[in-house]
């Protein structure tokens, strides 16, 4: 079981309030991703849940029990750190067995659980190596192994993939998702990479300056961002946000349209513009089009290979059903 409830949890370092009172419920078995720009308090929130930082106010409940004052070891949570935090002088086997050894399990049981974890994570061949002799991805797996042997109520991950290269990151992302499907344990995952958030999460929590901007499933956030911040943060490439006269036509202060919801035509359409830089990914092509009456270049996403030359005049047509409207406070207009 691993249902975690934050009730008006607050954190201040000295006079600086990093996390204003915040409520959040994480259901048992859920994969929750905290996402937000750098310095918004994601790590701090995770460390509060872990017990590595003391809350300045409010209550943390794990499975209904007040855990606010419970020391980290007794909360039944396991954490995977960004730096992996492996013990450099111990072999992989001893690293993974460390929490079991601290729990006073007998040697045979330790060995059995380490074997099982190593099997799951493809670490069997590396059990006698030191962390220094492993690649980044393998170290990451050892850190996860050390977390799973404890059979915790929930896993906490703090940007576990940020030290890996792009290809490995995609691989580990899948592995962690698969692990979650298999273990069905609550996982809280911190990242500033919205692609990780979108692909892995059951529920995304978007944070800004310690505030929760929106909580919801990836598609909810994609389809109905509650405000401009979430609209700009979720989705890649970013949503086009357009103000001025064009927004007025739609009775809004700002309108948002995602690059994939704009069609391009060389002959006719709503907005006339000139093609700027184009990015060819093979599967998709992104065009940056400078339109009349719109300050920022509009990003357009077209499937497959489309050839539009630099400086060419084109017409863009937004899909009216996919238009997001925001009022002058930046809030979504339903």
């Amino acid at each position: 079981m691993g249902r975690i409830t934050l009730d008006k949890v607050r954190k201040a370092f000295g006079d600086v309030e990093v996390i204003p009172p915040l409520d959040l419920t994480i259901e048992d078995g859920e994969f929750v991703v905290f996402v937000g720009p750098s310095g918004c308090g994601k790590s701090t929130l995770l460390r509060l849940i872990a017990g590595l930082e003391d809350v300045s106010g409010g209550e943390i409940r794990i499975d209904g029990q007040d855990a606010t004052m419970v020391p980290p070891a007794k909360r039944g949570l396991a954490m995977v750190f960004q730096s992996y935090a492996l013990y450099p002088h111990m072999s992989v086997r001893k690293n993974i067995a460390f929490p079991l050894r601290m729990a006073g399990l007998d040697a045979a049981e330790q060995e059995r659980r380490v074997k099982a974890a190593a099997d799951v994570l493809n670490l069997t061949d590396y059990l006698d190596r030191r962390p220094g002799q492993l690649s980044g991805g393998q170290r990451q797996r050892v850190a996860i192994g050390r977390a799973i042997v404890r059979e915790p109520a929930a896993f906490l991950f703090d940007e576990p993939l940020s030290n890996l290269d792009a290809a490995l990151r995609v691989g580990m992302r899948l592995e962690i998702s698969e692990l979650h499907k298999r273990l069905k344990t609550t996982m809280i995952y911190v990242t500033h990479d919205q692609v990780e958030a979108m692909t892995m999460a059951d529920k995304i929590v978007v944070l800004r300056a310690g505030h929760i901007e929106q909580v919801g499933s990836p598609l909810e956030l994609y389809r109905a961002p509650r405000n401009l911040f979430v609209a700009g943060f979720i989705g890649s490439p970013k949503m086009n946000l357009i103000g001025g006269a064009i927004a007025k036509q739609h009775d809004a202060a700002t309108i948002g349209i995602r690059p994939e919801h704009i069609s391009v035509s060389p002959e006719a359409g709503d907005w006339k513009g000139r093609v700027g830089v184009s990015e060819h990914l093979g599967s998709d092509t992104f065009f940056h089009v400078t339109c009349e009456g719109i300050g920022e270049p509009v990003t357009v996403r077209v499937g497959g290979e489309v050839d539009l030359s630099y400086g060419q005049t084109v017409w863009l047509t937004p899909d009216a059903n996919q238009l997001h409207r925001f009022d002058d406070k930046g809030l979504r207009i339903a």
Binding site: L52, A73, L77, A85, M102
Partner: protein
Amino acid sequence: MATQHSRSAARLMMAPAVILLLGWMLVPLTMTLWFSFTRYLPMRGDSIERGLEWVGFENYVRFIGSSSFWPSVQATLMIVGGVLLITVVLGVLLAILLDQPMWGQGIVRILVIAPFFVMPTVSALVWKNMMMDPVNGMFSYIWRFFGADPVSWLSDASVPSIILIVSWQWLPFATLILLTAIQSLDSEQLEAAEMDGAPVLARFWFIVLPHLGRAITIVILIQTIFLLSIFAEIFVTTGGSFGTRTLTYLIFQRVVDSQNIGLGSAGGVYAIILANIVAIFLMRIVGKNLDR
């Protein structure tokens, strides 16, 4: 760009220093070796100009055969071992203490390092006259305050007293090295261990101590090299009596008190051998610790 050219230029530049160092070490070493095989008693009129009488290994046999030889080796090892033990144990504890954020950290750190800047002779005098003096010393006041008889430290507990004085001098060194080592410990490792359920002592034993292993070996190695030759502390306090005659001190007595340069030189050669045995032994351990 370490070309052939710049490399030979570098050698040329370093040559004066290397030659000076070699001369600095080789000349005294060769002279010691030479004297150790001769009869050289300046009081009886022996001198280098008149030629020294070659006596083979006689000095070596006499030095080892003397009743003070083994006790002096013993005293040396006891003092070196005692100081190492105290400085390493207290050094680790002090380093952990100084690593904690606290008020007035800067001043406390300077105070801790201060003893290292006091000359050995001075610190030995201070300890002898201000702390350990059986009549006027600090300790005697404390003892009397609790109604006990003051101890005459330097005669009744001479070896522990010397260990105390020398430890006081070397503790700052150990603390400093260990403190920098502790500061390089990744705090996430400690947090990970905390989450893994390791209580404070287990964290110290399984995480902090292994992390300090390398620094501890370096402290032991460097201190041993210097401690084998401590002299001023003994000269000023006990003058080598009450079982504090170390090998270094014995050699000094043979050369200066008995004016037997040949015999003293033979002792010097033994000291070199002893130092090398210890050094090889330590290098092994350090080597093992360093190439992790």
